[in-house]
Symmetry: C2
Subunit: 498 residues, 2 copies
């Protein structure tokens, strides 16, 4: 870019500043979930609220509108043009919300999210409801204001924050299809697994320290850069921090090594995406991950496509024997069966990939009703129990901690996020199908432990693209077609019925 | 305060905002020392530099000068008047330095401080010097600008930041006295200890996990509130965080349990001071700890007056037996002798209280010369070696990591801080003498494990006072006289020669 573009340059400088301040925000959120003692919460909430307000004022500065208009007339190369598109999007989202609402939102979700950390283990739905009502109220107001600005419906406006270009109708079309075949597929997979020779269960306990070392070993195998990130523990596993310093968390259950192991593989997918975003654009919106579904497509590619692959189980087997002592359960074929056991259960993050979409369908139904106002916060348990009975045939009555209180999303005000998980699973299957076309021996390579070509393909195709393309453009560039859930169905059928 | 004071109110609002943003700064510094992977340093440095600049702009906003002048005319109660005095001090310090210098300083010390974490273990003085020269240059410039504003000399201006009201001449007067009697006292104490029956050494190794549990147990005994703080590990132990969430660090040496134990006792003194600052004023300058020497007076009260007290050794003994298994070395009288062994050595933070002042005299001499410009960065090793030979009779040549590279202060640009440690030791002795007058059976109480009255006295006398009084006023209120090093000498003579 040899030509002059002063307005665009002024905007990049502003976004660099925002990025540096957001670093501190991200760190404080990570610490709040992973390390902060409960007594520190009020001060942390106040600090984060202050920073949220400050960032919001900077993102909505009145100079930005004219700069955006002027930059649109300047000579820009393709990356810069994409960066400007993302800047416009940021401006649109930020200016839709008044500062007072942003601060109120930050306060409400910080309070609710933190109290949830104690209330969930206590199964305290009534206590949770007290803090959750204001979160829902502010989310509805946010949805209404975002909708006014964008012309979308309120739920679509929330969804669009996480998944630009996706709508409720688009999700519904795909999910309605899944609703058709999912119950049958679950039944068939369960029946098929029941007919196989008995599984050999792993015998615990699995000491936390051994699990932690194993997690780090697996992260190494998956290419996580420990010079630019770390693994810690939190109630709800997540990946936070910044691309230069990715903070992953997991949680350890001494009775079940698979929970932390698969969780770690999942979060490592997020972590590697962040660590490999385009460095030369870091700090600019175009260097951000494309969308939440794309992010989940990476974690689910790692967890489901790669991590639950028979070839990968063979790589894990000796590590498990080293960590916990050899036992028959760790024989590769048995291990892969353990990792792909289909079993309707209460917990989303521990669900197998076949029953997983049911958890998302349920949440998608409930959160639409919450935002539309056709359901209230106190209606959630009844909706939850009915949905779980219908979708997975299980009884969840009275168990809030493993029911509507299990996830951090709603307590933290994230409505419209859940669909991204299943969209992500679909994208992941679509990527693996594209990878197999580009690299026909990929399955043998994985079995031989040659993972580098897989990561290189992801890096070139997705990670290094940042937000250079829209999700649809990117999907078509990688796979030659837009999102197509048939790949997901084919993947499940091949693995569970084939 | 029923009368109106709009200017004062506007100032308190601004300081509340600064406090909330400084929370994030403090957290990011703690994480940088305790958890951050090396690859995250550039981004962290950039983020902290951005925030330092932002805070500086807020602290020097042109509206503040007129508000301070107007508030001085408003009806204020005593605490508010003291708060205004501290606001004026903050304004004076902040406006003395241009924003560009503050950002340059933040950048230089962040780089140097982080590189030091690798360079120190590698004994890489040449590498360190590269980063340290810009730190020294910026410190000299800072000193010159602060001096211009305050009318103090450059070194006094630096010292005044940490120890308001104290001057080089004031320190020199006290330290010159110490220089007279210290060598003789060290010799006499060493000779007396050599003449005693042989010490029973503790037999290690002392596993890190057992040390960590012991540290937390001792913090409990010392009243640390784990609901509002935590203990982690860093290369150089420190106490950071915020009063509502105090982040203490220590480091564990498996060959020597006393190092982490005494370090933890020391930092807990800092931690309790922070945790007990006046809550109703939190966020305002008057709620800050009075000064660095006062802060050190609390850590050294904990470590030396209380922690090395024969009665306290009797409380520790069963905890040690539980942590590491019973052994003859943990017998209370022997344990107290281990804790009070006088032994000239290279490391300041591991020095006994008798040789400790020698470490400070050395640093005080060198840093004055560095700031005056009569010595350069590359002269430090020679000055160091000569001083250590003269003051403690030890040979430090070629060992930079346990020599001038051992402390984080200079790499982080803190010149004028070191004297506060020995001033703190003197205040601590003066406080204990005052406590003994107020509570003649304090020694028996400590031996019985009745520590609450000691903490209550500290809380009322010092912690809850925040910056309500000047250091001199506070000293006189507590002890009936200004700083008097005779108490420190008397304490050492009683314990080591008595």
């Amino acid at each position: 870019m040899s030509q002059a573009h002063p307005a665009y340059d002024a905007l990049t400088e502003r976004h660099g500043r925002l990025h540096r301040l957001a670093h501190l925000q991200s760190l404080a959120h990570w610490d709040q979930a992973a390390f902060m003692p409960p007594g520190g919460n009020d001060a942390r909430t106040a600090a984060l609220t202050e920073l949220a307000g400050l960032l919001h004022r900077q993102r909505t500065d009145e100079a930005i509108g004219p700069l955006l208009a002027q930059a649109a007339q300047e000579p820009l190369d393709d990356w810069a043009r994409a960066n400007l598109r993302e800047m416009q999007r940021d401006w649109q989202l930020a200016t839709a919300l008044p500062a007072a609402l942003v601060e109120r939102r930050s306060l409400a979700v910080s309070r609710c999210g933190q109290a949830w950390r104690q209330q969930r283990p206590a199964n305290d739905w009534a206590g949770f409801l007290e803090n959750f009502r204001p979160v829902l109220a502010v989310a509805r107001e946010e949805a209404r204001l975002l909708a006014e600005r964008s012309g979308l419906s309120p739920y679509d406006a929330l969804l669009d924050q996480y998944e630009p270009g996706m709508t409720r109708a688009g999700v519904k079309k795909v999910f309605d299809e899944v609703r058709q075949w999912l119950p049958g597929l679950i039944q068939a997979a369960v029946a098929r697994q029941a007919a196989q020779p008995p599984l050999i269960e792993a015998r615990g306990p699995f000491p936390v320290e051994a699990q932690r070392r194993l997690s780090e070993q697996v992260m190494h195998l998956l290419g996580f850069d420990f010079n630019a990130g770390r693994l810690d523990v939190s109630a709800h596993p997540f990946t936070g921090g910044v691309p230069e310093d990715v903070r992953m968390t997991t949680r350890f259950n001494e009775a079940d090594f698979l929970s932390a192991l698969m969780g770690t593989v999942h979060e490592t997918g997020h972590g590697r995406y962040e660590q490999n975003l385009p460095r030369e654009w870091l700090g600019q919106p175009v260097a951000l991950a494309r969308s939440m579904a794309l992010h989940e497509s990476q974690s689910l590619f790692f967890e489901m496509q790669l991590g639950s692959h028979p070839g990968f189980a063979a790589l894990l087997a000796p590590m498990l024997a080293q960590a916990f002592g050899a036992q028959p359960a760790f024989e590769p074929a048995n291990l892969q069966r353990l990792m792909t056991r289909v079993q309707p259960g209460r917990i989303r993050v521990e669900a197998d990939e076949v029953t997983y979409p049911a958890h998302i369908l349920l949440r998608f139904d409930i959160e639409q009703a919450l935002i539309d106002g056709t359901a209230q916060a106190e209606d959630i348990p009844a909706l939850w129990d009915a949905g779980m009975r219908e979708l997975l045939g299980i009884d969840t009555r009275g168990n809030y901690q493993d029911g509507p209180m299990q996830d951090v999303h709603w307590p933290e005000g994230l409505f419209g996020y859940f669909p991204c998980y299943s969209l992500g699973a679909m994208y992941a299957a679509q990527w693996f199908a594209a990878l197999r076309r580009a690299m026909p021996d990929v399955d043998e390579r994985i079995a031989r432990g040659e993972l580098a070509p897989v990561f290189d393909w992801l890096k070139q195709s997705i990670w290094q693209q940042g937000s250079r393309w829209t999700t649809r453009e990117l999907t078509e560039r990688i796979s030659g077609e837009p999102l197509n859930p048939a790949h997901f169905k084919a993947h499940l059928e091949a693995r569970y019925l084939g």
